[in-house]
Symmetry: C2
Subunit: 328 residues, 2 copies
């Protein structure tokens, strides 16, 4: 566990020692919490914050993109629960020198990705703060039978992701390594980093399949997030090969890094990670392809034990979580 996970584990103990949790179907530890507004319905809530100087820089990113990313990361958590987005509330921290046009641009970015996925902004709070800050809570709905979570993966399950990884990391590195990519690849990296697409429809499709045993989004890097799925499922995982975004492969080469390692460590790609019954995987993948025009990528499998392993030249090596530790 990294320092963020350790602190959260201790807070979870403290929180769960208090009060009745009657209405709650699951609590802290998944991408979102699930509760039961009425017997036949499940609602899902998630929250995600973004802080200037920590998660973004206003000198390298437009306010529109700051808003888009902030909303997209919340919608991605709903996607990971297989939920249909319903509404979001937005807390905005404004530095003393902020102008209202920047506030509107930020809202336009949030609204662009939210309304593309049927999510409305239902309320919020605006406060003075030392710098720009957003904290969004997003609510969705999911059928009781479609709730997956991170802890349901089974021995032998195929691990698959909904798209190539590392693109957002390449976008982050663009700022420091400007002209090392071709124009096309630079644009690809920029888009992956600034305007990630939450996999909302893909999440609902995958959640509807009984062969999908666990699901989460990859927000902190596959190595970090898969470790979380392993721990919650009480299993180990072996990674064979991950799909690397073209811009990420090119950036890794430029930086003299292994493209596989580069993509495994890259955060904020917002693809989904699923654990799928191995026998059902080819059929599910064919249906996924037909529906979305692109495949699921098998990256490895779940197995007995604990920890994360990567296959290199026929041998398995332990893989340390290399992704993002928010408090590290």
């Amino acid at each position: 566990m990294n320092s963020e996970d350790r602190l959260i584990a201790r807070l979870r103990e403290l929180i769960e020692s208090q009060g009745s949790r009657r209405k709650l179907c699951n609590g802290i530890g998944d991408d979102a919490a699930v509760w039961q507004p009425s017997r036949s319905h499940r609602s899902v809530i998630t929250t995600d914050a973004s802080v200037e100087g920590v998660h973004f820089r206003v000198d390298t990113m437009s306010m529109h993109d700051v808003g888009w990313r902030a909303m997209a990361s919340n919608l991605s958590d709903l996607a990971a629960m297989g939920a249909r987005p319903v509404l979001a509330t937005v807390t905005l921290g404004l530095p003393a020198d902020s102008d209202s046009e920047s506030v509107f641009e930020l809202y336009r970015g949030m609204l662009a990705v939210a309304s593309a996925h049927g999510c409305v902004i239902a309320g919020g709070d605006i406060v003075r703060a030392p710098g720009w800050m957003t904290s969004i809570a997003a609510v969705g709905e999911v059928r009781p039978t479609h709730v997956k979570g991170r802890g349901g993966a089974r021995r032998g399950d195929v691990l698959a992701v909904t798209g190539p990884l590392g693109g957002s990391r390449a976008g982050l590195h663009l700022a420091d390594n400007g002209r090392v990519l071709t124009e096309d690849l630079a644009a690809q990296a920029q888009a992956a980093h600034c305007r990630p697409e939450p996999r909302v429809r893909e999440g609902q499709f995958l959640a509807a399949s009984a062969h999908v045993h666990a699901m989460m989004d990859i927000s902190d890097g596959l190595s970090t997030d898969l470790a979380r799925m392993c721990e919650r499922s009480g299993l180990a995982a072996t990674v064979d090969e991950v799909p690397v975004a073209e811009c990420a492969a090119s950036m890794a080469q430029t930086l003299g890094e292994d493209p596989q390692a580069y993509a495994l460590a890259g955060g904020e790609d917002y693809e989904l990670l699923v654990a799928v019954n191995a026998r059902a995987f080819p059929y599910l993948n064919a249906r996924f392809c037909k529906r979305f025009g692109r495949p699921l990528h098998a990256v490895g499998h779940m197995r007995e034990g604990s920890g994360l392993f990567v296959r290199k030249g026929g041998r398995e090596e332990p893989l340390a979580p290399t992704g993002w530790d928010h408090l590290g």
Copy 2:
């Protein structure tokens, strides 16, 4: 309108121009947003943030109280909607020099007031930030027929509050004017400021009465919040006399201020303000007294026109909003 209300009005236009709001029963402008998870149920969501150096100082307030206040202000918004609290999500911003014991104290404060009102913490996010910061979203449930909002006040309605005002402001002034109050009154002011009680049960009781036409909580001061109720209801209000907390009356005298004006301008009391059918008020108040062991305080009435007036020596004078403007 103050600068915060103006910015929110413009954002509201922008937000409402986008997308279908099918599931939403009301949006921005009330204490919380209401949506419909299923035909027979209504859920309510609110969000409220608190920033070190803006809303609290860690040198004059314990982390326990910082947590209590942050959670109480959200529960108060649910109370204003007549809702039963269900769950909350918590975003925590931690400065680089924060220790985990402070995080736990802050959580203990949040949990103390949350669990007293049946609210569980269901999830959250922890981020690095320039200073301590909390952003909480709280969800509650309310019967479809019990939703009031701010805009339903009618001509002739009695305006009433659930308790004396100004106590929290006196607590704020304690820091600068240490020993001017007696020990008892200082403790009263300190409690009002640091551990306000959200009127959750009172809100549910009042929401259940068909004679209550509008309800909101007093978080920014009665003069500011009542002006919002007037505007949303398309009416004016006259204030006769407000109940002043004993500690606030004493602090106002010390500072050479009029106790009525002091209480009208005091924010963060978290009492509820209701507009009640005038003929039904005595009966409702008798039932309220019997249930809660203390009365509703009539402070004035709604009337034709626009704006806020205060009665002084038989004459009505216009009253400017003197409460808290978060962006002023």
